[in-house]
């Protein structure tokens, strides 16, 4: 079974077989490692020079690894895009939480750095700010709504100046 996985921007190809794993990445020779799984959840990786013990689990489509004192999170790299990424100009929630306050309405012109809404989680309030000046095209969040991380909250047009001439064109 071959997998393409990545952690912190570093991509690997991993091929698992009976007691052996082949790990390859760009500009590196493929490494063949032997492993053993112990009953307590520990894995022993027998490399060419040393053996190391680590932990690895799968959760929510991710792999979590603890090795030599560090924790790594790996995502599976999908060749075809599974889900549509947020369109440019969309502001998504960086954390799960509740929409505490909406400070803009659709059609509002906003300045770069202006607070658009406030999300609360774990008793912490986070201000979602406009990354650039523009116009609020759509407001996708409602007051009091529970949102997951990555959910689009606001669609922001790049620049108010862009939309004004367009309107004028239509009029003329």
């Amino acid at each position: 079974m071959e997998l393409r996985i990545a952690s912190n921007g570093v991509e690997f190809r991993v091929q698992t077989g009976e007691g052996e794993i082949a790990v390859s990445r760009p500009d590196h020779e493929t490494e063949r490692l032997h492993f053993q799984a112990l009953p307590d959840g520990t894995y022993i990786i027998e490399g060419p020079t040393e053996s190391v013990a680590g932990y690895a689990v799968r959760e929510g489509g991710k792999a979590w690894v603890h090795l030599k004192g560090r924790t790594y999170r790996f995502d599976v790299v999908r060749s075809s895009r599974g889900r549509a990424a947020a369109a440019p100009g969309d502001l998504s929630s960086p954390m799960p939480g509740q929409v505490q306050r909406l400070l803009v309405t659709e059609g509002d012109a906003v300045e770069a750095g202006q607070t658009l809404l406030v999300i609360e989680a774990m008793k912490m309030q986070l201000e979602i700010k406009a990354p650039h000046a523009g116009t609020v095209r759509r407001l996708l969040a409602r007051q009091g709504q529970q949102v997951e991380a990555g959910v689009a909250l606001v669609e922001l047009d790049e620049n108010a100046a862009d939309t004004v001439p367009r309107k004028e064109k239509k009029r003329s």
């Binding site: 690997f12 689990v57 799968r58 960086p94």
Partner: protein, 494 residues
Amino acid sequence: MFAKVLVANRGEIALRILRCLREMGIRSVAVASDTDRFAPHALAADELRVLGPANSYLNHEAVLRAAAETRAEAIHPGYGFLSENAAFAQACEKTGLKFIGPPPEAIRLMGSKIESREAARKAGLPVIPGVERAGASAGALLDEARRLGFPLLLKASAGGGGKGMRLVRSEGEFASAYGVARGEAEAAFGDGTLYLERWLERPRHIEVQVFGDAEGRVFHLGERECSVQRRHQKILEECPSVAVSPALRSKMGEAAVRLGQSVGYRNAGTVEFLLSAQGEFYFLEMNTRLQVEHAVTEMVYDLDLVKAQILTAAGERLPFDPGAVSPRGHAIEARVYAEDPAHGFLPQIGRVVRLRHPERPGVRVDSGLREGMEISVHYDPLLAKVVAWAEDRDTATGRLREALADFVLLGVGNNIDFLQDALALPEWRSGDLHNAFVEEHLSKWMGSLEIPAEAAALAGLALSSASASAGATGSLVDASPWTALGDWTPLRGR
């Protein structure tokens, strides 16, 4: 001594107190929200009362009812939740329950940052220049801000833990900061009163542990330095501070004791100071409760503050002579949070899939974790505290780093790697600490950039192996017999 005590808290601190009660031979009652009813603290007591929804730990009536129904004689509030709620402490007294903490009047006075500054001033403590005007409008406060000068801090009068607090660098930032600070203060404390304080450049955060015993004596147990903070919340704390000489310790300790005496303080409390780069200290606030970081004091002074709290509330003598205690060695605490240090310390949620707590000589772990448990958005992201004691600071630092390296916590994003890297900084080693430490040295922290092939191999195994997939599709909780119990409430009062 009390026959039975209720612990009105959750997580690591509830476990800490419940264990102490068992050691003292006192029967214990835990309370839990619906979501917490199988949490480690809920199962660690002799009896459990389930209070209701997630925010029930703040529900006075529900907690008092649980105490009455279980015939508890006293309530330990831990920290957070009801611990600094004067009305709750008062309500306990009214129903004949002992509140394990200071008198309600001391809580009320110190709970108002505005009034506590006044009390500190009266007791002869230096306070940070600022403006307190209860009931001032945003406009009036802005006028005062202009007079005081920017940058300054907007702070919640009822505040704590950095909630309802914003740094305002210029006049243009005032309106937005005011709105957010006020909203946060109202949400967290039910009181949106704000005040202004001059911003000190890179001060150290030094706090003094004070204690008032049953006989009315107030004494101190040295200082803790808690300068390493993110978002105004502490992440590394130590006892003693490298910046505090024996002479300064006496001076700050005496000031803290004077404040405690002036307000008739009893039980454990902490007087927080800012220590300027020039070596001047200013009163910041007083926390009228057990502090999260109390363990570093316990390890260096070799005593049990929770036990001392319980004995004092029961009117009994302390098991140690306050005049004879002396510090020994150095202790450092690291707070393990469910947060992403590479992305603005945003809270992380998820399920604890694999958990191995560190253990080694000189290391204490106060943890509220259990393998399989869900970390939700409902509560504070503090998961566990790892504390290392050693004969000196360098040895304690090395010991703490190694303990953190041994801490296996998979399934929920956390700051364990970040804490190890913070302890490895030369500025930590040299003790060059101040409250902008994280911003200055760790703001670009990205996590491990070198990913070993062995880690990728392990990830490949986890993703392809069926045996590693306990919870890959369903969750452990679904398969648990506990779920089949439905709405059954354990140990309902008999």
